[in-house]
C-alpha cells in the first residue's frame, strides 16, 4: 500500500493513524522498527501537546482567578485576552541566570526538577484519550499511575534538602507529610471504581461506565477530588508552598529554567488529575456517538477534563488555607476511616445485588448507600463539633464565673 494523502487524512479523523502507517510501511521496514517509530511519534505528540497546553493552562488559571477576585488578569501581551502572556513569561525564564546556592547539594538540587517533569509526563502513558487511543493499555494502568505519581514526592524532598535553605527544608517536610498522607484516601477511593469495573486497565474502566461512576459512587468521587487537590498542593491545602509562611517552600532557591520546570510539572499534574477524574468517574471519552467516531470521543474527553480543571481553579479561588494540624487530622481522622468504611460497604452491597439485575437498579442501590454513608459521616462530625463547642462554652462560663468572683473580691 502506498502513501495517499486522502487516506492519511481519513485515518487522522478516525484516529487510526498508527494502523494506516503500519499498512503503508509494511514490507519496506522490519516490523519492530515500524512499531518503534509509531511509538516515538505518539510520545512526541502527547508530550509536545502537554508542554504547549501548559502555557494556556497557566493563562486560564490566571484569568479565572482574576475574575474570581474581581480583576481582569493579563490583558496586554498578545491582544486583549493576553494570549501570549505566558509565552513571554517562558522566554523570560529561559534567559534568566541559573543560581545555585553555595551550600547546596548540587546533585540533588539539579536532578530534582528533571525528575518531577519526567514523572509528570510518564503518567500520561495510560490515559485513554479516545476509544482505542491509549499510549499503553496495560492491565495495571491505575497502579502504574499511582506508582509514578509517588516519584514526585522523592523529587520534592530532594529539592528541599538539596537547597540547604531552612524554608525549603520546612516546605519539603510539609510536602512529604501532606502528599504521603493524602495518598492513602486517594488510592483507597480509586479502589472503588476498580472494584466496580473489576479491572485496573483504564480503557476497560471507561468501557464499563455505562452509568458514570460519579452517579454510582459519588462519595468515592468526592473523596478522590479532595485528596487530589491535596496531592496537587492546591489552595485549601497549599501548605507546601505557602508564600506568606515559608516564602515558597521547596522551590525557593530555584531560578530561571529550573523553576520553570517545577512550575510546568505542577500544571501538567493538575491537568492529569482532571484527566484521571474524568477517566475514573466521568466516563472518559463516553458520549453520544463516541464509539462510532473516535474523534468525538477525544473531544468529549477534553471537554470533561477542562471542566474538572475549571472546577479545581474555582475551589482554589474560593477557599482559604488550612493549618497543618487541621490538614492531617482531616485526613487521618475523617477521610481514611470514611473511605475504608466505604470500600467495605460498596464491596458487600455490590456482591449482594444479583449480577443479572438492571444496571440502573444496581447504580441506584449503590447511590442510596453512598448518600446514607455520607449523611451518617456528616452527622458524626456535627455531633462531635457540637460537643466541642459545648465544652468551649462551658469553659468560658466557668472562667467568666471565676472572673466575676475575682472582681467581687477586689471590691
Amino acid at each position: 500500500m502506498s502513501f495517499n494523502i486522502i487516506d492519511f487524512l481519513e485515518s487522522v479523523l478516525t484516529l487510526s493513524i498508527a494502523d494506516y502507517l503500519r499498512d503503508v510501511w509494511a514490507g519496506d521496514m522490519p516490523n519492530w522498527l515500524i512499531e518503534v517509530i509509531i511509538d516515538v511519534v505518539g510520545i512526541l505528540i502527547v508530550s509536545t501537546f502537554l508542554l504547549i497546553l501548559t502555557l494556556y493552562l497557566v493563562l486560564i488559571l490566571r484569568k479565572v482567578l482574576a475574575r474570581v477576585q474581581d480583576r481582569i488578569g493579563p490583558n496586554r501581551v498578545g491582544g486583549r485576552y493576553g494570549l501570549l502572556q505566558t509565552v513571554a513569561d517562558a522566554i523570560k525564564l529561559i534567559t534568566k541566570e541559573d543560581l545555585i546556592p553555595s551550600g547546596a547539594d548540587k546533585l540533588a538540587f539539579n536532578l530534582a526538577p528533571i525528575i518531577t517533569v519526567i514523572a509528570a509526563l510518564l503518567m500520561w502513558a495510560v490515559i485513554p484519550f479516545a476509544p482505542g487511543l491509549t499510549g499503553a493499555d496495560i492491565n495495571v494502568g491505575v497502579f502504574y499511575v499511582l506508582a509514578i505519581s509517588s516519584v514526585s514526592v522523592v523529587a520534592l524532598l530532594m529539592a528541599g534538602w538539596g537547597s540547604n535553605n531552612k524554608y525549603a527544608l520546612l516546605g519539603a517536610f510539609r510536602a512529604v507529610a501532606q502528599l504521603v498522607s493524602y495518598e492513602v484516601p486517594m488510592i483507597m477511593a480509586l479502589i472503588i471504581p476498580i472494584l466496580l469495573a473489576s479491572s485496573m486497565s483504564t480503557q476497560t474502566i471507561v468501557e464499563s461506565q455505562s452509568v458514570w461512576y460519579i452517579v454510582v459512587v459519588p462519595l468515592s468521587a468526592l473523596i478522590f477530588i479532595i485528596s487530589a487537590m491535596a496531592e496537587l498542593g492546591q489552595t485549601p491545602f497549599d501548605l507546601l508552598e505557602a508564600e506568606s509562611e515559608i516564602v515558597a517552600g521547596y522551590h525557593i532557591e530555584y531560578s530561571g529554567m529550573k523553576f520553570a520546570l517545577f512550575f510546568l510539572a505542577e500544571f501538567i499534574n493538575a491537568f492529569f488529575m482532571s484527566a484521571l477524574f474524568t477517566t475514573m468517574y466521568l466516563g472518559g471519552w463516553r458520549g453520544p456517538g463516541a464509539a462510532a467516531y473516535p474523534l468525538l470521543g477525544l473531544i468529549y474527553f477534553m471537554i470533561k477534563t477542562f471542566l474538572v480543571y475549571l472546577f479545581l481553579i474555582w475551589v482554589r479561588g474560593t477557599l482559604p488555607r488550612v493549618r497543618i494540624d487541621q490538614l492531617l487530622y482531616f485526613n487521618w481522622k475523617f477521610l481514611v476511616p470514611l473511605v475504608l468504611t466505604l470500600i467495605l460497604v460498596v464491596a458487600v452491597v455490590a456482591k449482594l445485588i444479583p449480577p443479572d439485575a438492571n444496571e440502573w437498579l444496581q447504580a441506584g442501590i449503590l447511590l442510596v448507600v453512598n448518600i446514607l454513608l455520607a449523611v451518617t459521616a456528616l452527622e458524626f462530625v456535627r455531633r462531635y463539633a457540637r460537643s466541642r463547642r459545648q465544652a468551649v462554652e462551658d469553659d468560658a462560663e466557668s472562667l467568666g464565673g471565676a472572673a466575676s468572683a475575682l472582681s467581687g473580691a477586689a471590691d
Binding site: S47, E97, I118, G135, V180, S198, G256, K333, K351
Partner: protein, 118 residues
C-alpha cells in the same frame, strides 16, 4: 502486551529530553555572573544562622510510618478489587475482616496519640 511496556520504556527515555532540552537551551543563552553574595542562602535578607541539615520534628516520621501500613494495605486491596467479579460472598467477608483489622490498627494508633500534632 509487550509492546505496551515497550511504549512505556521508550516514553521514559524520551521524557528525559523534555526537561533536558530547555535546560540546555537556557544554559547556552543565560548570563553567568555568580558572586558570593548572590549565591548566599535566601532567607529574608539575613545571613543564615546554624546548620540546615538537622534532626527534625519526629511527628513527620510517625505519619510516614502510618502511611507505610496503609500503602501496603492498598497493595493487597488492588488485586482483590480487580478480581472482584470472580469473588464469592465468602471471599468478600474475608476482605472485610482484613480491612476491619486495619481499621482497628488505625483506632489503636489514634488512641495511642500517634495522630496528634503538637
Amino acid at each position: 502486551m509487550l509492546s505496551d511496556w515497550q511504549f512505556i520504556a521508550l516514553f521514559a527515555v524520551i521524557a528525559i529530553i523534555f526537561p533536558g532540552a530547555p535546560l540546555m537551551m537556557a544554559s547556552l543563552i543565560n548570563p553567568k555572573k555568580p558572586n558570593p553574595i548572590k549565591q548566599q542562602t535566601y532567607e529574608c535578607g539575613m545571613e543564615t544562622v546554624g546548620d540546615t541539615w538537622i534532626q527534625f520534628k519526629v511527628q513527620y516520621y510517625i505519619f510516614a510510618l502510618i502511611f507505610v501500613v496503609f500503602d501496603l494495605e492498598a497493595v493487597f486491596l488492588f488485586p482483590i478489587a480487580s478480581a472482584f467479579d470472580q469473588l464469592t460472598l465468602f471471599a468478600i467477608f474475608e476482605v472485610v475482616l482484613f480491612v476491619v483489622i486495619l481499621l482497628v490498627a488505625l483506632g489503636y494508633a489514634w488512641r495511642r496519640g500517634a495522630l496528634e500534632w503538637f
